[in-house]
C-alpha cells in the first residue's frame, strides 16, 4: 500500500466514523442531536504575495461539510474543501524574451473543527474554527513537471446563519485559513488566505 493510498484510506475511515456518530448517539438515547450536511463556495484572496503573483485566478474554493450538533449551539464540523487555481509562470529577472507558461494548482483541505451559534433567532451570529490538513498538486504541463506536497494549518470563520424553515440554514461567513506548504525546490508558502464563503446546510438526521 502506498503512502497516498494509506492516507486516503485513513481519511475515508475518519469520514465514515464521523458520519456514523449519530447512529451510536441515537442508540444511546440522546435526543436533539442532529447530523447535517452543507455545501458552499468562497471567494478567496490569498495572503501570500507569491501565490497572488503566480495565480492571478485563485479560483472559487468549494466546500462540502458534515456537521454534528453536540449541544444546543455547538457543532462539530468535518469538511472537505477543493480549490482549482489557474496561473502563469513568472520570470523574476528577465534577460531574454518574455516567457509565460500556464499552470494549474489543485488544493484539497480536510478540516476538523467546531462551530458555535451565538443566538437562537432565525438570524444568529456564527463562529467556527479548527485545524486542517491540506494537500496540493501543482502542474506545469509545458515543463512536464508536477509538484506535490502537504501541510498542517488552521482555519477560522465568522459570520451569520439564517434559518430557512426546520431543515435549511443559509451561511455567510468570512473565512481565514493558514495553510503552510513546503515544496522540494522552495521554502514554505502559505496557500491560505481570507475569503467570503456562502453556503447552505440541511439537517439530514
Amino acid at each position: 500500500m502506498t503512502r497516498t493510498t494509506r492516507r486516503r484510506a485513513l481519511l475515508l475511515a475518519a469520514f465514515l466514523a464521523f458520519a456514523c456518530l449519530p447512529c451510536f448517539t441515537a442508540a444511546s438515547g440522546t435526543p436533539g442531536r442532529r447530523l447535517f450536511a452543507g455545501a458552499g463556495a468562497a471567494f478567496l484572496n490569498p495572503l501570500s504575495a507569491d501565490f497572488r503573483r503566480v495565480y492571478d485566478r485563485p479560483g472559487w474554493p468549494l466546500e462540502a461539510q458534515l456537521g454534528w450538533r453536540i449541544g444546543p449551539r455547538l457543532d462539530l464540523l468535518l469538511s472537505g474543501r477543493w480549490q482549482l487555481a489557474r496561473g502563469e509562470t513568472v520570470v523574476p529577472d528577465p534577460v531574454g524574451p518574455r516567457e509565460s507558461y500556464p499552470l494549474r494548482m489543485r488544493v484539497f483541505a480536510l478540516r476538523l473543527g467546531a462551530g458555535f451559534r451565538l443566538g437562537d433567532g432565525a438570524v444568529a451570529p456564527y463562529v467556527a474554527g479548527g485545524f486542517q490538513q491540506a494537500w496540493f498538486r501543482e502542474r506545469w504541463p509545458d515543463a512536464e513537471a508536477e509538484e506535490n506536497g502537504s501541510g498542517f494549518g488552521v482555519f477560522a470563520q465568522g459570520g451569520c446563519s439564517l434559518r430557512l424553515g426546520r431543515v435549511f440554514q443559509l451561511m455567510a461567513l468570512l473565512d481565514y485559513s493558514y495553510a503552510p506548504m513546503k515544496g522540494d525546490e522552495t521554502g514554505t508558502i502559505d496557500l491560505g488566505g481570507v475569503g467570503l464563503q456562502i453556503g447552505i446546510r440541511a439537517a439530514i438526521l
Binding site: 503566480v54 509562470t89 523574476p92 516567457e99 506545469w140 515543463a143 522540494d184 508558502i189
Partner: protein, 539 residues
C-alpha cells in the same frame, strides 16, 4: 640574587619544551618519503590527502608518497602498507633509471639511494655534481615533492575525429614535411658541439632556436629558469587558435644534450636534435594554418639534468591556469631499429586516449609502426612534468636501442632521415588533429549565452538564450549542450537551424549547462565547434 637564579632554573624546562615543540612543528621537518606497492585503495589515497600528505610519483609497480609519520598508521588502517624510505630533508630527490637494468656503482659519495623498481632508484643528494660520477647512459627526473595532480580526463568536447574538411588539411600538412629542413636543423644543432645545459654552447643553441622561430614570423620568447645556480632558457612560440585560443596543444622537445664528456662534446643529433628539428618543422608547416586551439612550440633545456626546463614550463602553465588539450613530447625520433621504422608512444593511464588518438590520426599518413605503451614508470622525458601538473601528455620515442645514446657518437651520420621524416609526419598529423584545423565552413564566432529563471509557485526552471554571429558560407547551424564543461555534447537541433539564435527552455535549474554551435554548409559539411559558453556566461 637567589630568587633570580631559581626563576631562571624554573624557566629552563619550559624553554626546553618550547624548543622541542619548535623542532617538531617545523614545516616538513618530520615528513617521510614512503613507497606503497600497487594497487592502492582509493580510501587510502583519500586518507593521505586528508592528512596533508601527497603522491609524489606514480610508477609502474608502486607510488612514492610524502606523509608525516603519524599519518602512516591512519594509512595502514585505510589498507595501505607503505614502506618508509627516508625522512624529507632539504636535499634534492631524483628518480634514476638505468637502461638495461645495469647495477649502480657500489659507492656514490654524497648520494643515498633506495631501490624502487628494477633499474629504478630514488636518489637523495645535495651534490649537484653527482651526475658526472655516474656512468652513462642513465636518465634522471627531479622529483616534485609538493605532489602530483591527477591527470585531467580527455576533453571530449572537441571532436573525436576531425571535421571532414580538416582531414584534407592534415593530409596536406603531413605530406609537406621536408627532409632537407630536418637535416639542416639537426646539423645546425650538432654544430654547437655540445648543448649540455650550463654551458655557453647550450645557451647559444637556445638563441639559434629563437631566431629560427622568429624567421617564421612567430613571436618566439625565452623562458629563463635556474637549476643548481645555473641559468638556462626554454624557447617557445605560439600559433594562436582562432576559436578557443585559451586551449593549447603543446609540442615539446628538449634541445640540450649530454654524453660521457658533456662539457666538451655532446652532439646529441638523435637525443634530441631530431625532436627539436621536428618542432621547428612543425612550426614552419603549421604557422600558416588556422586552428581552433593554440599550438605551443616548446624547446626546453636541462632535460638531461632532471627535466628542469619542462618542469619550469609545466609548473608555470598550471599556475597561470592554462588549458592544455594535450602535450606531445618528441624525444629521439631518428635512429631506427633494424627491423623497421617504429615509434613507441608512452602514456600513463589518464593519457591513454591521447596515445590512441595519435595512432589513429597518424595511421596512413606516416609510414612507420606506432606502438602504444601505457607505463607510468616512463617519467624520464619532458612529458612527465606535465603529468605531474595534471595535463595529459605522451612521449614519442624511437623503438630501438641506439648504441650512440648519450655518447659523443650521437651524430647526424648515424641517423636515418627517412625515419625522421616519417616520425615528423606522424607528429604533424597528431598536433594538427588535436588543434583542430578550421576547414570550410568556419565555426560560428561570438557565441553568447544568457539564462533566466522561470518560476511557478513551487517549481523552478531556467531557460537559456543563445546567439552567435553568422559564419560565412553557412547554410545552417547545429546547437550542442553538455552537462559539464567539455563534457559529452548532445545535439539539441535534429536539423540545422537557419537563424543565429536558439532558446533552450525549461531546464532543471540546479546545474550549469555548456553550449557549442557548429555551422553546416549547403553540402551538409559541418564545421568545428564554436567556443564553449556556460549558460549564464553573458548574464
Amino acid at each position: 640574587m637567589i630568587d633570580r637564579a631559581r626563576r631562571c632554573r624554573g624557566l629552563l624546562p619550559a624553554l626546553l619544551i618550547l624548543f622541542v615543540l619548535a623542532l617538531t612543528a617545523a614545516p616538513g621537518g618530520r615528513e617521510l618519503l614512503l613507497k606503497a606497492s600497487k594497487p592502492v585503495a582509493p580510501a587510502a589515497l583519500a586518507a593521505l590527502e586528508a592528512g596533508g600528505g601527497a603522491v609524489v610519483q606514480e610508477l609502474r609497480s608502486c607510488l612514492l608518497l610524502r606523509a608525516r609519520p603519524e599519518l602512516a598508521s591512519r594509512l595502514r588502517a585505510a589498507g595501505l602498507a607503505a614502506q618508509p624510505l627516508t625522512r624529507v630533508t632539504a636535499a634534492d630527490y631524483f628518480l634514476l633509471n638505468v637502461p638495461g637494468e645495469r647495477p649502480l656503482p657500489a659507492e656514490l659519495p654524497g648520494v643515498r639511494r633506495f631501490a624502487l623498481e628494477p633499474g629504478t632508484w630514488l636518489l637523495e643528494t645535495g651534490d649537484a655534481g653527482f651526475r658526472e660520477r655516474l656512468a652513462q647512459p642513465y636518465r634522471l627526473k627531479l622529483l616534485a615533492l609538493e605532489g602530483v595532480l591527477p591527470v585531467q580526463p580527455p576533453l571530449s568536447g572537441e571532436r573525436a575525429q576531425a571535421a571532414p574538411g580538416a582531414a584534407s588539411v592534415i593530409d596536406r600538412l603531413a605530406a609537406a614535411v621536408s627532409e632537407d629542413r630536418l637535416r639542416a636543423d639537426i646539423q645546425a644543432l650538432q654544430d654547437f658541439r655540445t648543448r649540455y645545459a650550463s654551458t655557453p654552447e647550450c645557451e647559444a643553441a637556445g638563441s639559434f632556436l629563437r631566431r629560427r622561430l622568429q624567421e617564421m614570423d612567430l613571436g618566439a620568447q625565452f623562458q629563463p629558469f635556474t637549476f643548481y645556480g645555473f641559468q638556462s632558457r626554454n624557447v617557445w612560440a605560439m600559433i594562436p587558435g582562432l576559436t578557443e585560443p585559451g586551449q593549447k596543444v603543446v609540442v615539446v622537445a628538449h634541445y640540450d644534450s649530454t654524453s660521457g664528456q658533456p662539457r666538451a662534446l655532446a652532439p646529441g643529433a638523435d637525443d634530441n636534435g631530431s625532436g627539436t628539428a621536428a618542432v621547428l618543422e612543425l612550426a614552419r608547416l603549421l604557422s600558416g594554418e588556422r586552428f581552433d586551439f593554440s599550438i605551443v612550440l616548446l624547446c626546453v633545456s636541462a632535460e638531461e639534468w632532471g627535466l628542469f626546463g619542462s618542469r619550469a614550463y609545466a609548473v608555470q602553465a598550471r599556475e597561470r591556469g592554462d588549458g592544455i588539450v594535450g602535450v606531445i613530447d618528441l624525444d629521439m625520433i631518428s635512429f631506427p631499429d633494424p627491423s623497421g621504422f617504429a615509434v613507441d608512444l608512452y602514456g600513463n593511464n589518464s593519457s591513454e586516449w591521447l596515445v590512441d588518438r595519435f595512432i589513429a590520426v597518424a595511421r596512413g599518413r606516416a609510414r612507420l609502426r606506432l606502438d602504444k605503451v601505457i607505463d607510468p614508470s616512463m617519467v624520464y622525458s619532458d612529458h612527465s612534468p606535465f603529468w605531474d601538473q595534471g595535463y595529459p601528455a605522451l612521449c614519442a620515442n624511437e623503438d630501438s636501442n641506439s648504441p650512440y645514446y648519450h655518447t659523443t657518437g650521437d651524430t647526424l651520420a648515424t641517423l636515418d632521415m627517412g625515419f625522421a621524416v616519417e616520425a615528423t609526419r606522424a607528429a604533424v598529423a597528431a598536433v594538427a588533429d588535436l588543434a583542430q584545423p578550421i576547414a570550410w565552413p568556419a565555426p560560428p564566432a561570438g557565441l553568447e549565452a544568457r539564462s533566466q529563471a522561470v518560476n511557478s509557485l513551487f517549481m523552478r526552471r531556467k531557460s537559456v538564450y543563445l546567439n552567435w554571429q553568422a559564419s560565412a558560407g553557412a547554410a545552417g547551424y547545429l546547437v550542442y549542450r553538455a552537462d559539464s564543461s567539455r563534457g559529452a555534447y548532445a545535439r539539441l537541433t535534429p536539423e540545422a537551424i537557419a537563424g543565429t539564435a536558439y532558446a533552450d527552455l525549461l531546464l532543471p535549474p540546479d546545474r550549469h549547462y555548456y553550449y557549442v554551435v557548429s555551422a553546416v554548409d549547403a553540402e551538409g559539411r559541418e564545421s568545428n565547434f564554436s567556443q564553449e559558453v556556460r549558460d549564464d556566461e553573458n548574464n
